[in-house]
């Protein structure tokens, strides 16, 4: 009985280690192939495909990311104000929203939205290509599936996620301004001046560094789930669920790691 528990624990651990290993190897391949997707120096078909992906991952996601950021900005301002008002420190809501969004909520909200929209789409697309033997067909045509399918998505996400994050920051902070305007009649220009005062370049940059890491996680996990599909259409369905669950999990894990690093190295 004990051995079976130990065996099962060991087996499960090995599978996780194997998964992370596969993820790291795929990332290595993808980084190697990234150059081929660049304009001018790379293959123009890959660049064209990357542009298509930028539209799908970025432009199409913008309305959703914007609405999420506006709602969250508003929520954060309201929750903050209800507490801070008791100390007569309602103006600190501006700091709360600005710092909260640039450091944390902007990148995280964007990553979660993109993971739900595009991480699942990546795994579904690649998974169904595995099931219909299209990936095998690519390989028999001497075309590397990682370069052909994954690399353009990777490049697109690396470019688009920081852009979405900046827009998400802007939307969230503006929503905070709207709240201040409604609750304390503070003019938007005054609000924005205070925002500029409390916004620090370091916060914005660390947020963007996070968003690049999140983009990597979403693409690698989403695509790996697709490539690992075995069997029929039901396996494709399971892979999309697992892509969203795993990428969200890894995004939050990475976020915790990054925040700890920035906290420890931040000084003040």
């Amino acid at each position: 009985m004990t051995t079976s528990v130990v065996e099962r624990l060991g087996g499960a651990t090995l599978r996780q280690v194997q998964y992370v290993g596969a993820l790291v190897m795929q990332l290595g391949d993808a980084l190697g192939d990234l150059r081929r997707t660049l304009p001018l120096v790379g293959n123009r078909n890959r660049w064209r495909s990357a542009i298509g992906q930028m539209l799908a991952v970025g432009v199409d996601a913008f309305p959703m990311v914007a609405v999420m950021a506006i709602c969250t900005g508003f929520i954060l301002a309201m929750q903050g104000a209800s507490e801070l008002r008791r100390f007569g420190a309602t103006e600190f809501v501006i700091d709360l929203v600005t710092v909260g969004f640039t450091r944390e909520l902007g990148p995280l909200l964007t990553a979660i939205a993109v993971s739900g929209r595009s991480g699942s789409a990546f795994s579904a697309e690649i998974g169904s290509m595995v099931v219909t033997e299209e990936i095998d067909a690519l390989r028999t045509m001497a075309i590397d599936p990682v370069e052909f399918v994954l690399a353009p998505k990777f490049l697109a996400a690396l470019i688009v996620l920081p852009c979405l994050t900046i827009m998400s920051n802007a939307c969230g902070i503006l929503a905070g301004g709207l709240f201040m305007r409604l609750s304390t009649a503070m003019a938007l220009s005054v609000y924005l001046r205070d925002v500029a005062h409390s916004m620090v370049l370091r916060d914005v940059v660390t947020g963007l560094v996070k968003s690049v890491a999140f983009a990597t996680i979403i693409v690698q996990v989403g695509c790996l789930e697709g490539f690992r599909v075995r069997g029929g259409p039901d396996a494709v369905g399971r892979s999309t669920t697992s892509a969203v669950v795993k990428s969200t999990f890894f995004v939050i894990l990475a976020d915790a790691g990054f925040t700890a690093i920035f906290y420890l190295t931040g000084g003040k």
Binding site: N45, M129, T132, E133, E134, D136, A137, R139, T140, M141, A142, I143
Partner: protein, 275 residues
């Protein structure tokens, strides 16, 4: 144009030597030895689960054996460098069972893909070559449409056009007649024969359709439970006394002994109810 048989004619086109493949401890291929000569049409026969599709995947380098070798034009697929492997792959055209056309591209772009990836030809040349490949399989006018709009037989023919795109020496078909009505399946057989005549290619076909096998094969190889139980010409296999081959050729189900018992049971049951 295609299939330059003069090039490396020394030795077989594909040579399978002592190949063993297991999945999860189950032997799927058990010591397979098979040589396929240049310009020959080899049909791999076998029932479901006999290992014929696995053998095919080995021959086209999608998987590598646990032991043994697969040599294509003398190059060991498992040991060759990435560059050599790519070269070998470009000399093999594969038409997959479900056609495996890229649904995100038009039929024309499917056929042109390998040319765009591996050659520096001008777009106008690629278009012309693509049209020629499609015309060979009788789909000259269907280049612009999406693969989803094609019928089953047309999809398979488009897949053949794509397999031909780099003028391969070896053409591989996985279950060409699966899912097709007899007339369309026969048309596809004719296409395979015509291609072979025109380009003198080495053709490997995996199938369990006896009619199709007899029409196209120069030689046949019969797989049963991961072992090669016979290799030979159509006539040799037809007269082979091996019980499994006889069973396969005569379409006899496996549970023949049991079905006799079932008959007996019913006879007794009917007798019992009569009295």
């Amino acid at each position: 144009m295609a299939g330059t048989p003069e090039a490396p004619t020394t030795g077989p086109a594909i040579s399978v030597r002592d190949v063993v493949v297991s999945y999860d401890g189950r032997r799927v291929l058990d010591g397979i030895n098979l040589d396929i000569a240049h310009g020959e049409t080899m049909v791999l026969l076998g029932g479901s689960g006999s290992g014929k599709s696995t053998l095919l995947r080995q021959m086209i380098g999608l998987e590598h054996p646990q032991s043994g070798q697969i040599l294509v034009n003398g190059i060991d697929l498992a040991k060759s460098s990435e560059k050599d492997l790519k070269k070998v792959r470009r000399s093999i055209g594969v038409a997959f069972q479900n056609a495996a056309l890229f649904n995100s591209m038009s039929v024309e772009d499917n056929v042109a893909l390998a040319l765009r990836e591996h050659t520096h030809l001008a777009e106008s040349t690629i278009r012309l070559m693509t049209w020629m490949k499609l015309a060979v399989v009788g789909l000259g006018e269907f280049g612009k449409i999406s693969p989803q709009a094609l019928s089953g037989g047309m999809k398979k023919r488009a897949a053949v056009a794509r397999a031909l795109s780099l003028d391969p020496e070896i053409l591989v078909f996985d279950e060409p007649s699966a899912g097709l009505d007899p007339i369309v399946a026969a048309e596809l057989d004719e296409l395979i024969l015509a291609l072979k005549r025109a380009f003198n290619m080495t053709v490997v076909v995996v199938t369990h359709e006896m009619a199709s096998a007899f029409r196209i094969a120069d030689r046949m190889a019969m797989l049963y439970k991961g072992k090669l139980i016979a290799v030979g010409t159509k006539e040799e296999l037809q007269h082979n006394p091996h019980p499994r081959i006889r069973q396969f050729f005569d379409r006899v189900p496996d549970q023949i002994a049991d079905s006799a018992a079932v008959d007996q049971y019913f006879e007794r049951y009917l007798e019992g109810s009569a009295t």
